[in-house]
């Protein structure tokens, strides 16, 4: 099995999950409780990766990260190198591609909280962070777990976006899914089978965790 690809894939998935949780908690809160008129626009943008072919998303991200755009030039300055075909670029692509898988469970979680409980908290404390930390997050814990597991497994399994942005450079951007593709191209079916079994096991285990926890939490 491609040890480099395993390490790189799980590193990418772990960092992506941490970033997505940090983003999806405030974004999910806002989507659940916010009243801005342009909320449907944000919801549509967040959900876009669910319906968009990964290659399309990968293509536009590749263009955006390129030296022809102001964003690409700014990112190159910040990171000290072009983002395309780098781990950082892969990370940006993964975060965007897996965004709905983290944001939507969190939004559902916050929406499931009894409005009167939130109002009771707002009557007693003006500190939103305290309300989030002491009341809301404990109540949406099963959804938080779902968001983390889905973000992680979806990143582990992504192919189109990482191929477009990363190009499959060994040790830098070559993830497990690209490794399987290369193994099949080389007729190394035994190796492809071993790698695929690993991904299958990870995905199955993740779903088992989610459904097991949901069953216990009654969600």
């Amino acid at each position: 099995m491609d040890q480099q690809a395993i390490f790189l894939t799980f590193r990418l998935a772990a960092i992506t999950t941490v970033i997505l949780l940090a983003v999806s908690i405030p974004l999910g809160y806002w989507l659940a409780f916010g009243q801005a008129r342009w909320k449907p626009l944000v919801e549509a943008v967040v959900a876009l990766p669910l319906v968009l072919p990964p290659t399309v998303l990968g293509f536009y991200l590749l263009v955006l990260m390129g030296p022809q755009t102001a964003v690409g030039r700014a990112l190159s300055t910040i990171f000290g190198h072009p983002l395309a075909f780098s781990f950082a670029g892969l990370l940006v692509g993964s975060v965007i591609f897996s965004l709905p898988f983290a944001v939507q469970p969190m939004t559902s979680g916050f929406r499931s909280v009894d409005r009167e409980i939130l109002e009771a908290a707002q009557l007693l404390s003006a500190d939103r962070i305290r309300i989030l930390r002491r009341v809301l997050l404990p109540l949406v814990r099963p959804f938080l777990l779902t968001a983390a597991v889905l973000a992680f497994t979806h990143t582990v399994g992504e192919f189109g976006v990482v191929l477009m942005i990363g190009g499959g450079i060994p040790g830098v951007t070559k993830t497990l899914s690209i490794s399987i593709y290369d193994q099949v191209q080389d007729f190394a079916y035994r190796q492809a089978n071993a790698t695929s079994l690993l991904l299958l096991s990870v995905s199955f285990l993740a779903l088992l965790i989610i459904y097991g926890r949901r069953g216990r939490a009654g969600v």
């Binding site: 409980i117 109002e119 009771a120 707002q122 009557l123 007693l124 009341v135």
Partner: protein, 250 residues
Amino acid sequence: MSEYLRIDVEHTLGELTLRVACALSAPWTVLFGPSGAGKTSLLRVLGGLTRPHRGRVVLHGRTLADSGSGTWVSPAQREIGFVTQRPTLFPNLNVSANVAFGLRGLSRRASEERAVQMLELFQAGELARRMPADLSGGERQRVALARALAPQPRLLLLDEPFAALDGDLKVSILERLNHWLAEHKVPALYVSHDVAEAFQTASDVLVIERGHIEAQGPPETVLANQRAQLLRHLNSNRTNIGVDGVRLLY
């Protein structure tokens, strides 16, 4: 008690338009009216849970909301306690932590002591370590009362909070609540459908119908003038008019 609350607000919610202009000075005011008259909506406006489309709310000389100047004080900064009909305790926190949630600037130990002290006021001290899911409806309501009073609010809003309490306990809790409110000079605005309760407890009655204040004054005067409305409530079977209410009608 001198005037503590001045309300002049207008708010449309579905088919109901709330147009309320009044001033409160009685320590215990009962807000009386049929279902859908706007009682809860008015309390939500006062508590800051609903932002009125137009108008002004002033509590103890402090403007809490003013559509003209854009003033808006958030619910927690209003120093208003609010207890609803359905007690909504935080299910993940034990009773003591629920009561201590609104306390600020106290050490953990002092907060816990204060929480237990407030619980004991409502004969619920032994519930401190229990979780809300393990409480009966009446116990939850007593905890909700203790939680609302713990930060020592400047006004207490009660939206039919005693519906889940049985007779003797209700009388006992009301007595203790009245005593605490009087001792701390905290006025209360209390929504009730129960005319007998209004007679027993209110120093002032505010009658609301279809979003408007129809009458205000001492219960003997106001409720006598509302005879026709009481009959209507009686016919709709939504109101427990009590013995005093029956005397009033016949």
